[in-house]
Structures are given as structure tokens and as C-alpha cells.
């Protein structure tokens, strides 16, 4: 392909891209000029729930910040992995059965179970990372 052909192909591609951009802008302009659409969108969006969310936005942002800290995410991931290992059918069966007679001995045996120890360790290790910024200072 010669230089002239390359230049022609490039200018055609640029013309196509420009045309596409102008058409998209026209479509967006259509939507933004559609008073009926904007009025209905306004009614759809402006609900009491939206004002509640706006009012609580600072707290929600702080909560999101805490929840997305790497350490919290790691702990949540560990917790999720543990939950994946849980035999849900066995749990459901255990819930349906009448509770066993409570005794200090059975509680000690339960706390000695390797899986219970693992779950408690993961849970306890995740607690410090859930502290608020103020309390961790």
C-alpha cells in the first residue's frame, strides 16, 4: 500500500469517526431536548428514598471506605471461603433437630473442634479492621 493510499485510508477513518461522534451528539441532544422525557425522569428519580440516600450520603461513603479497606476485604474473603466450606444441608438438618442437652462438657468438646476454632479465628481477626478511623487512632 502506497503512502497516498495510507493517507486516504486514514482520512476516511477520521471522517467516519467524526461522523459517528456528530451522530451520537445529535442523539444525545435529542434526549436532552425531550422535555417529556426529562420531566418523567425527574418524577422517576425524585422519590423520598432518594432524599434519604442523599441525606445519609456522608455516612454511606464512610461505611464504603471502611468496607473496601484491603484488610477488611481480605478478612471478608477468608470468611466467604469458610462459608463456602460449610455443609448447608447438615446445618439445616441440625436446626431442625431438637437442641442437645447443654453441658459444660459438650461446649468444651465443640470449642475444641478444628473447624470451629478456624471459623472463630477468622472472625476475631477480622474485627480490628472494622474499627472506625477515630477509634483506631
Amino acid at each position: 500500500m502506497g503512502m497516498a493510499q495510507v493517507q486516504q485510508a486514514e482520512s476516511e477513518a477520521q471522517a467516519r469517526a467524526l461522523e459517528r461522534l456528530l451522530d451520537l451528539l445529535e442523539a444525545i441532544n435529542n434526549a436532552l431536548s425531550d422535555e417529556e422525557l426529562l420531566r418523567t425522569l425527574g418524577k422517576l428519580v425524585m422519590t423520598p428514598e432518594l432524599f434519604l440516600v442523599v441525606d445519609r450520603l456522608p455516612q454511606l461513603v464512610a461505611l464504603l471506605e471502611r468496607l473496601t479497606r484491603p484488610k477488611t476485604l481480605e478478612s471478608l474473603e477468608a470468611l466467604a471461603e469458610l462459608l463456602e466450606q460449610v455443609d448447608l444441608k447438615a446445618v439445616a438438618k441440625a436446626i431442625q433437630q431438637p437442641p442437645p442437652e447443654a453441658s459444660i462438657g459438650s461446649l468444651v468438646r465443640l470449642l475444641g473442634d478444628r473447624r470451629v476454632v478456624g471459623a472463630l479465628t477468622a472472625l476475631l481477626s477480622s474485627l480490628p479492621s472494622l474499627q472506625s478511623p477515630e477509634s483506631s487512632k
Binding site: R20, E26, A27, L37, K43, L44
Partner: protein, 397 residues
């Protein structure tokens, strides 16, 4: 000879335009689009003119909607000779093709109902022309009392929900003018219930009743007596009115198709409902309002058929699912959709504000969809997949 296959598309409505703009991107087709006017019309806007006086989205120059590599011919296709693979236009041009896709739309025949020509002159309608839609607007904005009748004469009319949108938008307009209490609105239909599809009737009839719209079923309109202001049915029953709009009879396109036995008595082109193929001709397809293959005479159906024909022209084995997806406006910022396919009846989709927003949004982006199908195809594929009748029936029972 360039070696490229010659594709002639007759008609630049939504189906024809989308097909031409899609096919021209496949380099091995030389695409010619024949349209009889320099404009493309967005027909649902007739309702907006009739009841809101808004014609902003009515039409665009077709030159701005066609890919510049499509050979656009402004002329009326007069005859299509399938055996000799040629299209003859009103100006005498002969175009030979390897493939032809017929998408010329339909024609409106007011005279099929006696007295309707006079009635349209007086009160207009919202299925034929912008001028007639403006007549409806004048009727709606000047009426103070009496009975307004909307009567469906042709069950196969364009846009199945349009008569219902008509009475509901009339109700909205009259309420906003503060004269609704003095005007009775009657919807007269030939069906056993308000809406022909039983499942969607469960959505629509309660809305009509809530808005105080009278429904006359089994109404087979025969003639209109404009002087005496009454409609007369085939059975001889009469319905009086002060203003009336008839959803008129529809006919096939003004086009001679050879062989002649490939059109119905009403002039519609006989085409296979799965493949859109015309008769036994592997190189001829008919899509949209003009064809008997359509499951509903709407732009969305023509669009979906165009995509099926595109794939078939490329050698793929695509078929129509009979999917309908008709946005339905019911006034006061609410809307719903008539969604069905060959396997599933219309979904009972309740009226929501968000559906009305979607309808307006589609209308605003309509022109871009016509011109850039390659951009919108994956979006619509995902959208239609997510809103399939099968999936929606599991939610809206």
C-alpha cells in the same frame, strides 16, 4: 464487474434502512436503496402530533440516515419482476439484482369504509398522514362536550397498541384541559375484549376502566354517516358520536409484483414467516408492514426481520422468532410494552414510569439506530435476550 453481489432494497422505512446500512458494511455487497421520498418518517410520532401537538421527531432527511456507501435512489419502485431479477421504477429505470429485499411499507385506504373519507376530513386520524394527525389535535383541543369515539376498522392495523394509546392520550389531554367530565370516550373494537390478546388485555382493560373509557366489543364497522353523526356496524347497530376517529383499513404497497400470485387480495406480499423469503425465490425477501410474514406491523418487528434477512444473505441459518416489543404509552407518564413471540403470548407487563422513560429514550435514539446498526446490534441483542418473553413470563405471571 466488481464481482460484488447486487442487493436492491425497496423502501427506506426502518426495516429497509437498517438492512441497507447493515449490508453495506459487508464489503461483498453493492447496496442500492430505493425510496419514494427524500424523507424517512417515524410513524409513532403521529400519536404525539394528534394528542400533544408535538411533531419534533416526525421525519428526517433520508440522505442523513443512509451510509454514504449505499447507492440511494429517490424514485418509486413500480414493478418487481422476480423471474427476471429486476426492479422497474416510476421514472423508467431498470435495476437488475442478485438479491432483492422488499420493504415498501403499506398504504392506507380510507375509502374502504363508506363515509370515512369525509370523517377524516373533519376529525382526522393518527394512522395515515401528519395532516390528519393535526386534524385530530384540532379536534382534541377544541372539543368541549359530547362523545368521542375511536373505532378500529382493521384488526391488522399498524402498531397494535396505538388505538389504546389514542384513547388514553385523549383522556390525558382532555383532563389537562379540564373538560374530561363533559366528554365520554368510547373505544369500539371488533374483538371479544378490549385488547385482542387475552393476556395483555388483563393489563390494559383495568387501565381503560379506571380512566373511565367505555369499551364496545364485537364492533364490526361498516359505514359512517357524518351528517347524522353515527357509525353503523355490519349487524346494523348504531353508535352516535360528536367527534370520531377510525383506525382505517390498511392495504399492501403500491407495487406490482410478478408473478402476481405472490400478493394477497389486499396487496400484501406473501413471505415466509420464519425466513421472510418470497415464494420459492431464494433471492427475494419481504420484510416489515408490506409482508404477510410480520407478527405485528411495527418498526421493531421490521428491524428484527431485517437482521434475520441480513444473516440469511450472509449464508447463515437465521429465523424469525415472531418477537414483538411494542412500547405502549398510557398517559400521565406511564408506559408498558407488548412483548410476545411465536411461543409465548403477550407478557402481563404492568404500567410503570420506567417503561415510559424507555419508550421516550428509544424514540430519541431512533435515528441513530437506523444509521449505525453495527453500534446498536450488540446492545439490542443483549437487551432482547434479557427481555425475552420466556424470561419475563417467569417474573410477571
Amino acid at each position: 464487474m466488481s464481482g460484488r453481489k447486487r442487493l436492491v432494497v425497496v423502501g427506506g422505512g426502518s426495516g429497509g434502512l437498517i438492512l441497507a446500512n447493515s449490508m453495506v458494511r459487508h464489503g461483498d455487497f453493492e447496496v442500492t436503496l430505493i425510496n419514494d421520498t427524500e424523507y424517512h418518517y417515524y410513524w409513532p410520532q403521529l400519536l404525539q402530533i394528534a394528542f400533544r401537538g408535538d411533531d419534533s421527531q416526525l421525519r428526517r432527511s433520508i440522505y442523513g440516515l443512509v451510509n454514504r456507501h449505499v447507492n440511494l435512489v429517490i424514485d418509486r419502485a413500480e414493478k418487481v419482476d422476480l423471474a427476471n431479477r429486476k426492479v422497474i421504477t416510476a421514472s423508467g429505470k431498470e435495476m437488475h439484482y442478485d438479491y432483492v429485499v422488499l420493504a415498501p411499507g403499506l398504504t392506507i385506504d380510507h375509502s374502504a369504509i363508506k363515509g370515512n373519507v369525509e370523517l377524516v376530513q373533519q376529525f382526522g386520524d393518527f394512522h395515515s398522514t401528519p395532516e390528519n394527525a393535526w386534524r385530530v389535535y384540532n379536534t382534541i383541543t377544541s372539543m368541549r362536550k359530547g362523545r368521542l369515539v375511536v373505532a378500529v376498522a382493521d384488526p391488522g392495523h399498524r402498531c397494535p397498541p396505538s388505538p389504546y394509546e389514542g384513547v388514553l392520550l385523549a383522556d390525558e389531554a382532555l383532563r389537562l384541559r379540564g373538560v374530561r367530565n363533559d366528554i365520554t370516550i368510547t373505544l369500539a373494537v371488533p374483538y371479544p375484549r378490549a385488547y385482542p390478546a387475552e393476556t395483555f388485555n388483563e393489563v390494559l382493560e383495568p387501565v381503560l376502566k379506571e380512566r373511565g373509557i367505555e369499551i364496545q366489543t364485537f364492533f364490526n364497522l361498516d359505514s359512517v354517516d357524518v351528517q347524522a353523526k353515527k357509525m353503523i356496524t355490519l349487524e346494523g347497530n348504531e353508535l352516535g358520536f360528536d367527534a370520531a376517529i377510525v383506525v382505517p383499513m390498511h392495504r399492501g404497497p403500491r407495487l406490482t409484483l410478478l408473478p402476481e400470485d405472490l400478493t394477497t387480495d389486499d396487496g400484501f406480499i406473501k413471505a415466509d414467516k420464519l425466513t421472510n423469503r418470497v415464494g420459492d425465490y431464494d433471492d427475494a425477501f419481504a420484510i416489515g408492514d408490506a409482508s404477510t410474514s410480520t407478527s405485528a406491523r411495527t418498526g421493531v418487528t421490521a428491524h428484527l426481520q431485517a437482521k434475520v434477512v441480513e444473516k440469511r444473505l450472509l449464508g447463515l441459518d437465521a429465523i424469525n422468532t415472531g418477537r414483538t416489543h411494542c412500547p405502549t404509552e398510557i398517559g400521565f407518564g406511564l408506559g408498558t410494552f407488548v412483548i410476545s413471540d411465536y411461543q409465548h403470548p403477550s407478557v402481563k407487563l404492568p404500567p410503570k414510569r420506567v417503561f415510559y422513560v424507555m419508550k421516550r429514550f428509544f424514540a430519541d435514539f431512533y435515528w441513530d439506530v437506523l444509521k449505525h446498526p453495527e453500534f446498536w446490534d450488540p446492545i439490542f441483542d443483549a437487551y432482547f435476550d434479557a427481555t425475552s418473553p420466556e424470561a419475563l413470563w417467569k417474573i410477571f405471571r
